[in-house]
Symmetry: D2
């Protein structure tokens, strides 16, 4: 049985179709005092529930705890929790004294209601250590090759920093051809800064900038502007998690992005492909 959180209903349906498991009937209600209740119609013979819920809001966190509890209460033996996007996942350490490790705080809470957790492309792999139950990671970046236009000109798959280069490689490999590189700043002396890839590397080529998350879009739109200056043919953005907070979308558009492609770990209008096949393998 696939049990979708309110923010992951499309992915839930895709996962049900992919795995052949039934999609559970769910209800998301809100009481006059502001409290919510998520309930699940559980068939008598259900022995496993896969709760799929992007925790993009605080309400989604509480809802997830309720969905986990509802299936347990109904007698389901095994509960698997899929976090296509894990809220607070980037706060996986205290950057300043006095800060919480928010990822750990929510991970522990989530662990109390499940036998196992599955994450999709977390920002930091170490976030899996925050859970008290087994936690697997599914790599879904390769799915982003599917919606890309077929005839890209001499394509370059570029990550905004060295850390995300494996994501760019995944997309390139799935696309079947093209080069991989990443942005790198080299400071020569005083104010002289060289940014690679250089002009020659991108001129006339179609560039796909690949990242795990696009949040406020500031870094990404700067990258697009640099590529535009260097006469790239067209610049595409491919990201796993299209958070697109505040004016992110407008920033990317104004910077001259050709198109944005994302998965359904966060369900947005830029969602162009499902991670369901990758998840089905892990389940």
């Amino acid at each position: 049985m696939i049990v979708p959180g309110s923010e992951s209903q499309a992915l839930g349906a895709a996962l049900a179709a992919e795995t052949g498991e039934p999609l559970a009937a769910v209800r998301y209600e809100r009481f006059p005092d502001g409290e919510r209740m998520a309930s699940v119609e559980v068939p008598a013979d259900a022995d496993r529930a896969v709760v799929v819920a992007a925790t993009t809001t605080d309400a989604a966190h509480v809802e997830l705890l309720q969905l986990q509890d509802a299936v347990r209460e109904a007698g389901v033996e095994e509960v698997v929790t899929v976090l296509p996007y894990m809220g607070y996942g980037r706060q996986e350490r205290a950057f300043e004294p006095g800060q919480p490790v928010s990822a750990r705080a929510v991970a522990r809470a989530i662990s109390t209601g499940t036998d196992r957790v599955v994450l999709v492309d977390p920002h930091e792999a170490s976030v899996t250590d925050c859970f008290d139950v087994p936690c697997d990671v599914v790599r879904a970046a390769s799915r982003l090759a599917t919606p890309l236009p077929g005839g890209l000109t001499d394509p370059l798959f570029l990550s905004p920093d060295a850390g995300a280069v494996s994501l760019a490689e995944s997309v390139r490999d799935a696309y079947g051809r093209g080069a991989v590189d990443y942005f790198d700043k080299v400071r020569h002396s005083g104010t002289e800064v060289e940014i690679t890839p250089g002009d020659a590397a991108v001129e006339g080529r179609d560039v796909v900038v690949v990242d795990d998350i696009v949040a406020t879009g500031t870094t990404m739109s700067e990258s697009i502007a640099v590529l535009d200056d260097r006469a790239a043919a067209a610049v595409y953005v491919a990201c796993v998690h299209p958070l697109l907070a505040r004016a992110a979308r407008t920033k990317l558009e104004r910077a001259g992005v050709e198109a944005i492609y994302a998965t359904d770990t966060i369900e947005r209008d830029v969602t162009a492909v499902s991670v369901a096949p990758a998840l089905a393998d892990a389940l």
Copy 2:
């Protein structure tokens, strides 16, 4: 200049591309006390601003008033307000004594900041009377033919009630072939109820259920279930405004919908086509 509200950034970009007008740089901020501020970078020579904002939340309503004011304050002469989806638009009369005409309440507020309003497929045409400035309606349902699969079998375009049949006709006309009908209940005697279209009419055919809004999805999922009982080949949902509140998506999926197609009046993952071309004509 196209000025997008935070909920209509993709449509804003599409409209900018369609009209050739520049997409304005906007900022959406939130202060510690919870108040928001939407500001706009206005070029010195801008003489018209088209503010495009789906008012799907109360915050979006206040943001719209701010965007209108920001462009006026910057000296823009003409302000056009496009409401791709108008929040509270369905509350265009008092259904019980003591109720507000919420559509009128927000329409008057919006009218104070604009010279003209453009609505996309309002639920009730009479809602245009709520505004104190000229208000035009753009019909965009025909856009929904674009994402539909090309080879539908003997397609039937169906509206959930007689009132929405013109929407179904628009989609059919744009699609180029197929029949149009609507659900109708005829009560013969006592408990005997006949629902048209009858079994014969839908058997083996691909059916596209067309409506302006899908809100909680209850009516729509019941329609799909009836069509499934009557052996329709595949059932598609096409709607202008994909509100998809609460468990709507899951209801449709469980009822057996083949696919859901919507426009970008509300930007969701089911958004498959832009209303920008239709809006560009009206501007």
Copy 3:
């Protein structure tokens, strides 16, 4: 060290004053993507942190997990969590199949970050079983006697049902004089219903209706109306948790309440006395 949640800052200060423990410097921030961060300035020698947080919203639940984690991360050995008002506490069992036991779901989450939990007058005592760590209950209803006017006429302390009569007794005992009773409906035959206390019992007396929570105020305002019909002198409301959702306050006022007194488990304008002394004893 007393660490207040954002909804319990007054109680946190009161508890610091009562216990002599320092009130921690806290920061509540919100990032552009909507995520929050609550951080705590922790002195090097702090060995115990008492996190005090009413979980009246979903955001407050996540914030609590962060505050617990922040003090642990800073090396504090013992974490005590005081829930002056426990959100979802009334959902301590599944009332319909498929529902979650929401109280248990959040209790387990809270348990992961603390050594011990203290609740103030939970709606159901059994909710303490939902926690995985020791959970104590503090009875604070007697505090409500403090703000009551001193010269009540032949006071009657009344609970809306038999279950809450011990609360009424607590207030009466602390007040020092007066009778205790509860509303009871006896159905004689067909439509004949007798409600006790009868007319004689309340006529000319000052009545204090005592309950643990006032949520939407429907039951409470009906009780006040009955008492008014029966010629009670003045009707006061005393409650521990002034949730006062939606139009609750207006309902009580229209029903003719003389005054409303509540504690600071939820910090509202009707808060008239602190539960800090009762909590200090338990800590």
Copy 4:
């Protein structure tokens, strides 16, 4: 008839009691799609409605428009709108190019539904110009003298800047005795800064810091700390609008405030006196 907004129910009741006008029965509902509806039970003979609503949230702004419309729709002739606290009131001009004058934006909207507006102690008096209908200001700071302890020692009423000194005077005048001063920084040379009032002026005295709003509490807590350094006996805070955003309350407490007193323009636990008498005079 007094029609309270959901955030001003206590003030609404106080105003009804003060004026003898009936308190209207209101309902605040929320639909599954997130839209709200505020409705009002309007007696047939009601010829004037006083809508009282602090617009502390975006939802409260939309609710106010609905309440205004509901009473108009029910045939009420005169609608007076009281904004005990006017959200966005401090944004009464564009501080940077491209910003909206948010106060004007919401004022225009509010003006469409009312014959007259009454504000309580706006941050800037010029905000009244933002309305398209007559707008009166009620000064309620003097009300803050009521909850102050009677026996203050040689009291000094202090405003955080020269602009707010008239508020401090109002409170002093109502209190009946004491001096008035304000914080002022004089820079002598280099790093030497003199802040008045000087040490002598505050030593051993009870000081009441008076301001219109306490928002994040940063300025106010710094003032308290300075007074504490200078050996003031006790420091009280008196403010009209207790916004108390984020950690404001904790900051004040840690700075050593003795007590905080505020009115019911925003209904908080520090609310200690009603502005209803001042409003009744203006109505």
